[in-house]
Symmetry: D2
């Protein structure tokens, strides 16, 4: 299988897998009382250049749901893009963990929220009006679900709107590394310095086996998280194996290097596709995801040739999502493009 379906079809980055063995010997205190986890929290603080509270979990869904539940009461609302993963792809996990909050979609071009649209939505929210759910949080996905990336300035503009309404800002950072690789700024600049209060930090899509973290830049929001994590079944007893993945991920900027590689492959793919007759990109390619429209015959031919990818049927005929990963090889990209070209040329 030559995988362009998703970055979660990839296996583990070698250094991350190796880290499991490195922490294996002997007994260690469970439930996060171990040394690896303590080291990890310090490492997170260094990487983000600030005090923070980090709660490792095994899925992005858990990281998102736990962070949102820390910010939003059951009668609350989370403002997000309609296509945000939290709204569209998590089977209602945020609703479950918040106790029934409402996700309010604020449409925006290329998968991103615009500050003005968030402001307009909040203006009609009815704060203090008992018949309405009450604004609880603003959530943005970085990189977005359309493969685009918010600049720190864009994040800051949204955060300013949120702050003006007394709301905190959550970032779904399942592909934060890809966004950082694009932006070239520091993790701090992309997050809390731009007004992000809480981060669902992702590693699985970029080389971990199963490792994410709920990261709180404002400790007072983290007060309940330990209980909610346990109650959600997400407090891993042998935590060191989870923390070790995140530690290796952050070590020597492995995460950024691997994300740069993935982004580069996506860019290579996008450039090639854009040049093919009958092909078009749907969104700017700023991370490791390419949304494109190809002739149906080309898609059929590519599948027949063993390439794996998702048809994005709700976006119309011929639309696909192609995702590059830390282990995508340039020759795989080129083979994909060559195969596509064979079918498009004939079109």
């Amino acid at each position: 299988m030559i995988n362009f379906a998703s970055d979660n079809l990839s296996g583990a980055a070698p250094r991350i897998l190796a880290a499991l063995e490195a922490v294996d010997a002997g007994a260690a205190m469970p439930y996060g009382e171990d040394e690896v986890t303590a080291r990890l929290e310090r490492r997170f603080a260094e990487v983000f250049e600030t005090d923070l509270a980090a709660f490792p979990v095994v899925t992005g869904t858990a990281a998102n749901a736990l962070t949102l539940a820390a910010m939003t009461p059951p009668y609350g609302a989370v403002y997000c893009h309609p296509e945000a993963h939290i709204n569209a792809e998590e089977c209602g996990a945020p609703e479950f963990y918040t106790g029934g909050a409402k996700l309010v979609g604020v449409p925006g071009a290329h998968g991103k929220l615009a500050a003005a649209d968030v402001a307009a939505a909040l203006a009609h929210a009815g704060v203090g009006f008992v018949h309405h759910v009450q604004p609880g949080a603003v959530s943005l996905t970085q990189a977005s679900d359309a493969g685009t990336v918010y600049t720190p300035e864009e994040v800051a503009a949204i955060a300013e709107v949120a702050r003006a309404h007394g709301l905190a800002v959550q970032m779904d950072g399942a592909r934060l590394a890809n966004a950082l690789a694009r932006l070239g700024c520091t993790p701090a600049e992309a997050t809390w310095k731009a007004g992000v209060d809480v981060l669902a930090f992702g590693a699985t899509k970029n080389g971990a086996l199963a490792a994410e973290a709920a990261v709180f830049f404002r400790p007072e929001l983290a007060r309940e998280v330990a209980y909610r994590r346990k109650r959600g079944g997400h407090l891993i007893s042998k935590m060191r194996y989870l923390s070790a993945q995140l530690e290796a991920y952050l070590q020597d900027d492995l995460w950024l290097a691997d994300a740069r590689h993935a982004n580069a492959q996506a860019a290579r793919l996008a450039e090639g596709l854009a040049a093919l007759p009958g092909c078009a990109l749907l969104h700017p390619v700023e991370g490791n995801e390419v949304f494109a429209r190809l002739p149906e015959a080309a898609l059929d031919g590519l599948e027949a040739a063993g390439f794996v990818f998702y048809r994005w049927r709700e976006a119309g005929p011929g639309v696909v999502r192609l995702v590059a990963s830390f282990d995508t090889r340039p020759q795989d990209v080129d083979a994909f493009l060559a195969e596509a070209a064979r079918h498009c040329a004939g079109g």
Copy 2:
């Protein structure tokens, strides 16, 4: 650290850690659509000699909460021992996943439910009486939270009571391997043949990194589980690494061999303690856990000597829980006993 605190302080069994590398190469479909997970479900069916549905998850809390939520409506009740892990040690996870069901404690000697007591509790439940929560499930822990083991006959007697009230039976099998090692019966005999409908199958406490499974012997009870697992944040994208742990765990009866070893060390410990002046066992030692009362001075001395264990203060002064694991060495047991003897002799 010489660990008698818990089996979850141990690391991973070597063959289980090795299995992660074995499934690492190349791309694999995510979210359980991979070959390893398919193999695992077949393997589970062979081991339990019946058709079943198995949902791997990373914690016993998740396995318990998801299985109970499949059996109990929000206005339901789960009958269990007051000291059952689901009632006492999961921060309300079953309440969370069921949408607010009530756990009704039915006391019983040595951590076990007695069928007659369950029958008496159900007789007063008020079935159909709208002011009362409605019986939803009976749950028993095997091995129990007091380190004892239900015989298949005891399970069957409880299941018969449950069945007579239209209830299904859940088994918290976090230490099922230890129970089987004690009983010498087949997994089928200890579970569905004795009337168990749903099983929280544990592996983490016996050598996995983080791997459990929600196992349904009655497929109609599993209808909603896939959605509830996703919604709980427990659908791992790179599932192969989770399934591989369980596959290795079951391979060549590794799980039973390792449990036998742990049980043997617990027995060695129990025998030694029982012979010491001033020491007493609180429960029959039938699995890998020893509950004992020792002189406080002995406990202080043992801790000073580097032995790690839990003081079980709610059970009174001097009470400790000592847990043996797949990697507990006989010499560690003997060292513990020697140190204890030194203090008890002087008493």
Copy 3:
């Protein structure tokens, strides 16, 4: 105060208030085991010409939330108009009672769902796709939140779409009487004969003190409702006083007569407004609600003159909602129109 703000500012219909005294004497069994409640359920069956199960409650929010919770799992979705009361005005009650289901807005002209739009939304729902919430119910408001009325044919078309996807249909009938008064069809024709499975039957907005009912035309959907009603705190102990309101409401077609009166006043108001310079109706006036745009100066003048109504600011400047009630007097309508005319003429 001359009230055009809402039908729930009105008091009780005299015959309904009188019914409370009529059932007051002596003791009666509580929690709905009384004779009045038994009579009421029979009366409902007569009025709707079918067997049904009816659960009286005190608010439309409760009737909606309980009916939706009977149809939708926690991981489910309710398809409704974005401006539906259940989505916009109940502070998340459906989310609370369902355990966190998602309300999916399907926009439509004049506050109504169109069958084709529901079909299109369901086509992309992802049935069986574990990452998506699963369709649970379709809900429509009759009369709608824009004051329009679904014909039985329109309801049937939506119900057919729902049925084709295995979904049941809920009707929020907070103003069902007004819809029936408009349609001239029987209650049966407007509901279950058109494919409605479950009805939130309203009486409060049309003359009751506080009386609604969750009505199930398909008894199998009602299986859990008694428990969920109790658990929601909605099982009234002295139920006779609640049932008596509904009985009087249905007696001698009081509900339809009062709704016809309210509709007639709304029509009178609409006709008058439409004739004023600078005024416009936003939606067809088919029930007892008028949505109109008036010059701001006219609104200020009307308020200064003591008329009470809601400014509908989210729909733009000058937009108001005017609601007629069972006790709205023609002379009040005429006075309103005269005052409005005074300001519009000068415009």
Copy 4:
């Protein structure tokens, strides 16, 4: 029917029913923005001699669930008597409204909590231990579910324990009037002056049609209640009819006079029964409830003679609960006693 089954079989007190008509004329703002409700809140403050926030609702279940949800997080625990109405008779409403908190039973003689037992339970609660639900509130029922009454000193002792653990105290006052009639102290002395923070104030069992209130003596605990009440479907639109009941209830001490009458009838009944051969009281009779054991033959005879009461089978053969109400007549008590005597004499 001569009712000793429950005080909620009685109808409405005449002055309370009359109050509905008194507030009926004309339009009034909905959802509690009316004058009656404003007056009621001031009246509550006068009666309790302190600032407070009062939220009228229609059931005690709602008042209990809303107050407990204001005090207890989803991962919290409410400490109460095992037979407390909130634990035994509300079908899990507190679990529903809190989002899945746990009710922890603390047994005590005659239906009452003892401060020392609460202290002992809290000592083992495991505050800050992430595997345990966290103490959220202590709840006591006044008068208790065994018909006994806490003295202010007893309440204060429990409240002191709660305060020492950082917990707030909730009082289920479904029969608070009966307790006050017994104690002869002021409402303030029985509640907040003794350390009660939140009160579920009952009126229905003592003459209202359906009227209770969630009363907060500490306003900071009431912050979320308006939203949770709406979300629970308990915000009545025509609130004046609910508030009017409570206003009439408090007017001229009607509530206390009616409760004194009910208590006197219960005392008359208890005295009579205690003198009969073969009869015994199970609990001190301090309010309007009598728990007694009678010969089965006497019970059969009483039922045959048309007396209605509950057999309390879970307390053993021959046990009944007899409840006096504001409208219980002395001659009904005497008739009951005469009939009982006829059967007991022959024993």
